[in-house]
């Protein structure tokens, strides 16, 4: 029984680009009345077919521009496909975007009605669910204040609370888990888990590979509007990670970088594994950064920054604050970690060549690092440790020395 079925769906956008403001070879008169737009076609999705079974949680991952948002738009009927057919059985709603329909001049309560009916509830239903929505949001007395006076957190919380009460058959989650403060995020995750247990079909679209692995039964990988692979989330995220490990993405902070040294490639290897599988906590790891130096430079520092999926810096590999002399030509920096202290999951990687305070080259989010499930652990990090168990009594157990404060 399929809840969602895509059959050879394609979506073409007409990309409209504006001319640069003045073309000197034309007369001013012509410039005023010419057609300012050029059209060119852009295929956001190309011949995509997949299905989602009832009660299944499907994750969709891919780079920016891979077509994820287009799928969201098609599923929620915001736009129509150019070719192909989509079948949706049951009520579908997306979990987060509710608050974007708020009208600032209206009070929270009025907005709950407005959004509720916009997302397909009747006024009666909204009235019945109002107490639940208020309680979930924790907005309290502010409910009768115009939402333009709300903090952004309250705004989002109220939106999420409405969404949580929509009670759809199919739930569309699009980069949702960044709402509100930590307790509220827990509330949301809890809510999603509950929906999952109650047999709702879920489509989860995210950059957060770890969350996809945690939440989904199956995953799709999109690239440039095409379906690249489909399968168990672990396999698909691994494939995604492979496709990103080459330093190819244009860096965000390209402007102002001298690029006298270019970082060209990032790779990561578990030396004790011959099958090329990812590193695991507690085992060694080798990280390599290839570079090309266009001139000889002193005091150069190579850094590899590892970020949590949420974007927080987790840790750093560095060649040391003092810096080293780098000769002209190509080369490779190799970092060896005897014991990986990262917990299982996906980490985002920045690679940089710096000469403090100057940044020579910075490759922003140029790769992902995957840490597989290992023998360990709960919590955020793995601390390398050993243990021994001491049994019996008497001389084998040495009492710790006690310092008595009062004689």
């Amino acid at each position: 029984m399929f809840d969602i079925e895509f059959r050879n769906v394609s979506k073409r956008y007409a990309r409209r680009t504006l001319d640069p403001p003045e073309e000197p070879q034309r007369s001013r008169w012509k410039n005023l009345f010419r057609c300012r737009e050029h059209k060119s076609d852009f295929w956001a999705l190309r011949d995509i077919s997949f299905h989602v079974e009832r009660g299944e949680a499907l994750g969709i991952i891919g780079h920016n521009g891979a077509g994820k948002s287009t799928i969201v738009k098609l599923l929620s009927r915001i736009t129509a496909p150019t070719a192909g057919e989509i079948r949706i059985s049951g009520r579908l709603s997306s979990l987060i975007e509710v608050s974007s329909g708020f009208h600032e001049e209206l009070t929270g309560r009025e907005n709950v009605y407005l959004s509720g009916v916009t997302f397909g509830m009747s006024r009666k239903e909204v009235f019945a669910k109002l107490p639940g929505i208020l309680e979930f949001s924790g907005i309290g007395d502010f409910i009768d204040v115009p939402v333009k006076r709300y903090s952004s957190g309250m705004w989002l919380r109220l939106g999420f609370s409405i969404a949580a009460h929509l009670n759809p058959d199919i739930l569309l989650l699009d980069e949702v888990l960044a709402v509100g403060d930590v307790p509220f995020q827990w509330k949301c995750l809890d809510h999603i888990q509950q929906l999952r247990k109650s047999g709702r079909t879920i489509v989860f679209i995210s950059h957060d590979l770890a969350a996809v692995e945690r939440l989904c039964d199956r995953a799709l990988l999109l690239s440039h509007g095409r379906l690249v692979c489909e399968g168990r989330p672990q396999e698909v995220t691994l494939e995604y990670q492979r496709s990103t490990s080459l330093v190819s993405e244009p860096p965000v902070r390209a402007r102002g970088l001298s690029r006298k040294i270019e970082c060209t490639r990032f790779s990561c290897e578990a030396p004790n594994r011959t099958d090329g599988s990812p590193v695991r906590p507690g085992e060694p790891m080798i990280v390599r950064v290839d570079y090309i130096a266009h001139e000889t430079m002193a005091d150069v520092v190579f850094n590899v920054y590892l970020y949590w999926p949420s974007g927080y810096l987790c840790t750093q590999l560095t060649t040391g604050v003092a810096g080293t002399l780098v000769a002209k030509g190509s080369g490779r920096v190799e970092f060896y970690c005897p014991v990986v202290g990262l917990r299982p999951g996906i980490f985002l990687v920045d690679v940089a060549a710096e000469r403090y305070p100057e940044v020579i080259d910075w490759r922003h989010r140029c790769a992902t690092l995957r840490v597989d499930e290992g023998p360990v652990v709960l919590g955020d990090i793995h601390m390398p440790h050993e243990h021994s168990i001491l049994t019996g009594s008497g001389e084998s157990v040495r009492e710790p020395e006690m310092i008595l404060l009062d004689p």
């Binding site: 956008y13 007409a14 738009k73 098609l74 929620s76 009927r77 915001i78 736009t79 129509a80 496909p81 150019t82 070719a83 192909g84 057919e85 989509i86 079948r87 949706i88 059985s89 049951g90 009520r91 997306s94 975007e97 509710v98 974007s100 329909g101 009208h103 001049e105 209206l106 009025e110 009605y113 407005l114 009916v117 916009t118 997302f119 397909g120 509830m121 009747s122 006024r123 115009p146 058959d169």
Partner: protein, 277 residues
Amino acid sequence: MTRPVQIIRPPSFSLWAMGEHLTRLVQCRDLLYTLTLHRISVRYKQSVLGYFWAVLNPVLLLAIYTIIFSRLVNVPTHGVPYAIFAFSALLPWTFFSSGLSGATIGLPAHLNLMSKVYFPREILPLSYVLAAFLDFLIASVVLAALMLYYGFRLTTSALWVIPAMLTLAVFLTGVALFTSALQARFRDIGVAMPLLLQLWMFATPVVYARASVPQGLRHLYDLNPLVAIVETFRGALLNGASPDRLLLAECLAISILVAVVSYAWFKHLEATLIDVI
């Protein structure tokens, strides 16, 4: 439990899907109702006079017109006091003009909402039409007061205001759907709208009587559906006159045609509206 199955396909133009569209629209009537209410309540938020503006606006406008067209320029009204002569036509005209100008900018104004959730998009322009109708009802109270003051008595022909307003509503809906879809792609419409409405008002017997139009121009003049509607409205209330039924029927036919065609066109564009807006 059977679930509703939606099939989404590339958009195609068809008049026959109209029934389906209307059913869907009826299912979403709660949204139309809520949006209409909010349309009105938002307008008077953070204003001291609040809903009183709904009455104050037409009254002030009326005062201006009365001074200009009965004191400065003497417009012939065939014995009817100018204030009530003008107001009885301003009422349906304001419904038309405020409904149309609101609905025209309706889609781009709700871009945020439209890019996040699907609902029948015609609800947006329609909510402006309905809100304008509520304003019309409120302002009608002023007309009733004026009629009492000047001692007008209603006759059974006053019932002709109902078909007149119905025709107007159908015509307005048709035009509003057309301009709002056009505005989504070409913002020129919204810019030209105030001028267009000004012209349209002077081509409609609002501040003067239809009888003042030279006989030779009548044929052309009557092509404007608002002529028959406004004349019917005013005549039925003030003179107890029965309207030119043929003209009104013609006008209704045109309005229905306009509404049906522009609704079908609107629905055709709707599916990919968000891509071009």
